[in-house]
């Protein structure tokens, strides 16, 4: 179909569905922790605007969680429908890890999400706070399982291959594989930053329109502290992650850097921009800084990293994509650090709430964290190619033997359905963001639970009240 092979189409389908999916869990992870902090602040200070913020963001959390669950169902089946070779070969390890992720998510939903969304009046503040904290902990445990699985595919260990499939020999080694701690830290921080940017974007948008209250100011303030402190930490973690990748997946680093070969004993330059060309085996039109590559990747002046030519052509990741996605991620990260520093300067000058250029900039940065996450994942996943389990199973051997027509058909269906369904859902999220938070948000919340207008079973319902008001507004206008 369209000259694409079934393998390419299957990869596009996986890429498309996972890119859509990862947005929701990333925001879920960030918001769950944010809500925990908000409720802790409220319990400590008893200031009402913390509670207003808590109720406002829990509505966003609920809708977002629902969409994460729906898009996640597709992921759980895609490993079998499209990647049967992978499931058969590696299911003995990735299967249990995925099962634990699913079980954790359901346990969380079954146990504490209901109390968190509807139970403030029925269980009392302290138990309610514990529920929120446990939901946040649950999202982090889920992250841990799924990243253990992904990291094992990047840097596999603790297994042997018997009869053409992996057999776990040491679960501890499987889970705590070499790239796992770095990937887990990097992704968790990324989720926090993406959430902070979304929160601050909503706040700045309201401030620009003259909607000014304590809750909105608090949103912007908390998010900017997050950016100021955590964005630089993320750069350090990213650097450590890069060194780990250089050690275990040097071809990925070479592709990211567009680095083809070493010349003599010279240090490696850093190519800022250029066009890697797989056929010509060179990076064209490059702008480079001498020795900077060595400094960043080896922390020495003259250290060298392997070039792509050291790997046989069939083992090279596709440099033109990962070269650029990596730069997009790093560029956005640097922008986040800059905005954090800028906010500190404005805070010191007392113009954080009124500098329109800054507020406009922060509004535009709303999706920047999510884009950085997508760019980073594309880098690490495409940089692992042509392997799906690094060094032991090629992607081409993992794909299900469907013909291109079938995979192309389902890809088109997925694109249409996802755009329609999740487009509606995202539009709905933006509606909530546009509405609030207003004063006394906390008092306007309906109580929920068995037999009451709300019930804890369905996260999406948590947001329905504001939407009814909203629909009424739309009808009037």
């Amino acid at each position: 179909m369209f000259g694409l092979s079934a393998l390419q189409l299957a990869r596009m389908q996986f890429g498309f569905t996972i890119c859509f999916h990862i947005i929701f869990p990333a925001i879920t992870i960030g918001l769950a922790s944010y809500l925990t902090v908000l409720e802790a602040c409220w319990l400590k200070t008893r200031r009402e605007h913390y509670l207003d913020l808590y109720h406002f963001w829990s509505k966003v959390f609920a809708v977002n969680f629902g969409m994460g669950v729906v898009s996640g169902i597709v992921m759980a089946y895609q490993f079998g429908t499209n990647w049967s070779g992978f499931s058969r070969f590696a299911g003995g390890i990735t299967g249990p890890l995925l099962a634990y992720e699913v079980l954790t998510a359901f346990f969380l939903e079954a146990g504490f999400l209901g109390v968190m969304l509807f139970g403030l009046n029925s269980v009392g503040p302290v138990l309610h706070f514990l529920s929120t904290a446990l939901v946040a902990l649950g999202t982090l445990i889920s992250t841990t399982w799924i990243l253990a699985s992904n990291s094992w595919m990047q840097t596999p260990q603790g297994f042997e291959i018997l009869n053409g499939r992996v057999v776990p020999t040491d679960w501890f080694k499987v889970i705590f594989n070499p790239s796992f701690p770095y990937r887990l830290t990097h992704m968790t921080i990324a989720a926090y930053l993406a959430t902070a940017l979304m929160v601050s974007s909503a706040a700045a948008w309201h401030l620009l329109r003259g909607n000014d209250n304590r809750a909105i100011r608090k949103m912007l303030s908390m998010a900017m502290w997050m950016l100021l402190i955590v964005a630089p930490i993320q750069a350090v973690v990213g650097d450590m992650h890069g060194l780990n990748t250089l050690k275990y997946q040097p071809a990925k680093i070479a592709a990211i850097e567009g680095h083809w070969e070493n010349e003599g004993n010279d240090g490696t330059p850093l190519i800022l921009f250029g066009l890697p060309d797989m056929q010509r085996e060179e990076t064209r039109y490059k702008v480079e800084v001498p020795h900077l590559g060595s400094v960043i990747l080896t922390h020495t002046w003259d250290g060298q990293i392997p070039g792509l030519k050291q790997f046989p052509p069939q083992d090279r990741p596709f440099s033109p994509v990962v070269f650029w996605t990596f730069r997009v991620m790093v560029g956005l990260g640097l922008l986040m650090i800059a905005v954090g520093v800028w906010s500190a300067w404005l805070r010191w000058r007392g113009t954080l709430w009124s500098n329109r250029l800054f507020l406009r900039c922060v509004t535009c940065m709303g999706p920047a964290g999510l884009f950085a996450i997508l760019a980073g994942w594309i880098t690490t996943e495409m940089g692992r190619q042509p392997w799906v389990v690094y060094g032991i199973l090629r992607t081409a051997d993992a794909v299900s033997p469907h013909d291109a027509g079938q995979v192309g058909l389902t890809l088109i269906v997925f694109v249409l359905v996802y755009v329609a369904v999740f487009g509606t859902g995202i539009a709905y999220l933006l509606r909530i963001l546009r509405k609030g938070p207003h004063d006394d948000e906390g008092l306007a919340v309906e109580t929920g639970g068995p037999g009451l207008p709300q019930q804890p079973m369905r996260p999406l319902s948590a947001a329905h009240k504001s939407d009814r008001d909203d629909a009424a507004d739309d009808e009037r206008s």
């Binding site: 089946y77 499209n82 058969r88 099962a99 699913v102």
Partner: protein, 335 residues
């Protein structure tokens, strides 16, 4: 000899799929019956009978998928890739009907009809393609070198299409008896009328499948019709007849909960009938649960989590059904 973790996992997954069929069955059935209840208030009531519990119902589907990958990766990879298109269409159907629950109540008046149609179309598609997948699975999936070796469109055959329609009828009956239990007045009377016809339709399907499978599959015929199996398994068809009689009588006597309970028994009997035909194969006709098992270290590791958490999910499910029991009338929605 240690614990047979393959056996435990098979029972666990069979149980999970059973839970799914029964619970998502009636809520898919409500979507299938939607066209027979055109009024807005009727439709609101229908949705409100199931709104608090439907997403819990679907968790069993995900649990079944993840459990299958962890415990029987070969079965997961063969079954899911062999039934590629039906399963993808089923997932798309589930997405549409899932979001319809929420979007329908949030939509403006002029947009609602779209989500009504999404609810109907999604429910019918999910049920039909589940049935197609089931039919193709029962017919058998040829395996060679650890991969599906049949035709890409092997599922597009008379028997799977037939079971697809059969499952739509089954879910519709679960839905209509659920409505008898949960509604009152004119809606309940309407549900009684629909139920009576659906019972006969379903019996027709059960009879046809019971004849079709042993006639076309010698292995299944041998399972049922050789001695001493004949004596062991004879109660199953006899119980089906008995349950059908009781169900029809309960409908005629306008009983409240009994029709739903008898339908559950009927579904359970049909399910166990299929189980008897296929056991111990996880990929019919030739791959057993032990052939498809993941390494014992994998099954054991995942089993610890499943045995801890599945009971919690079960308790929570029972509790939420208990809380939301009773009749639903118009105007007292959960929404």
């Amino acid at each position: 000899m240690g614990v047979d973790t393959s056996l435990i996992w098979a029972v666990l997954i069979l149980f999970g799929v059973m839970m799914y069929v029964v619970m998502d069955g009636f809520d898919l059935g409500l979507g299938i019956l939607y066209p027979f209840f055109p009024g807005k208030s009727e439709r609101d009531v229908i949705m409100n009978t199931v709104a608090p519990v439907w997403d819990g119902n679907e968790t069993w589907l995900v649990l079944g998928g993840a459990g299958l990958l962890a415990a029987f990766p070969l079965a997961y990879s063969v079954i899911l890739s062999a039934l590629y298109l039906p399963l993808i269409f089923m997932l798309i159907g589930l997405i549409f009907r899932g979001v319809a629950f929420e979007f329908r109540f949030k939509a403006l008046e002029r947009e609602r009809h779209f989500w009504d149609k999404a609810f109907i179309g999604g429910s019918v598609a999910a049920a039909f393609f589940q049935g197609v997948a089931l039919g193709a699975y029962v017919e058998g999936l040829p395996v060679a070198n650890g991969a599906y070796a049949g035709a890409a469109l092997g599922w597009l055959a008379p028997f799977p299409i037939f079971t697809g329609l059969g499952l739509v009828a089954t879910y519709a009956l679960l839905g209509s008896t659920w409505l008898i239990m949960r509604t009152a007045g004119e809606m309940q009377a309407h549900a009684y009328r629909i139920t009576r016809r659906l019972v006969w339709l379903l019996l027709l399907f059960i009879a046809a499948v019971s004849a079709w499978t042993p006639l076309s599959d010698a292995q299944i015929a041998a399972r049922w019709f050789t001695l001493p199996n004949l004596f062991w398994f004879a109660p199953v068809p006899l119980l089906v007849v008995l349950t059908a009689v009781l169900l029809l009588r309960a409908v005629a006597r306008k009983r409240d909960a009994a029709p739903f309970v008898y339908t559950l028994v009927l579904v359970f009997l049909g399910y166990s009938g299929l189980g008897i035909s296929l056991w111990p194969n996880v990929i019919p006709p030739a791959v057993s649960i032990w052939d498809a098992a993941s390494p014992p270290q994998s099954q054991g590791f995942a089993l610890v989590g499943a045995l801890l958490i599945v009971p919690v999910i079960l308790m929570y499910t029972i509790w939420s059904y208990y809380v939301f029991r009773g009749k639903v009338r118009h105007g007292e929605g959960y929404h």
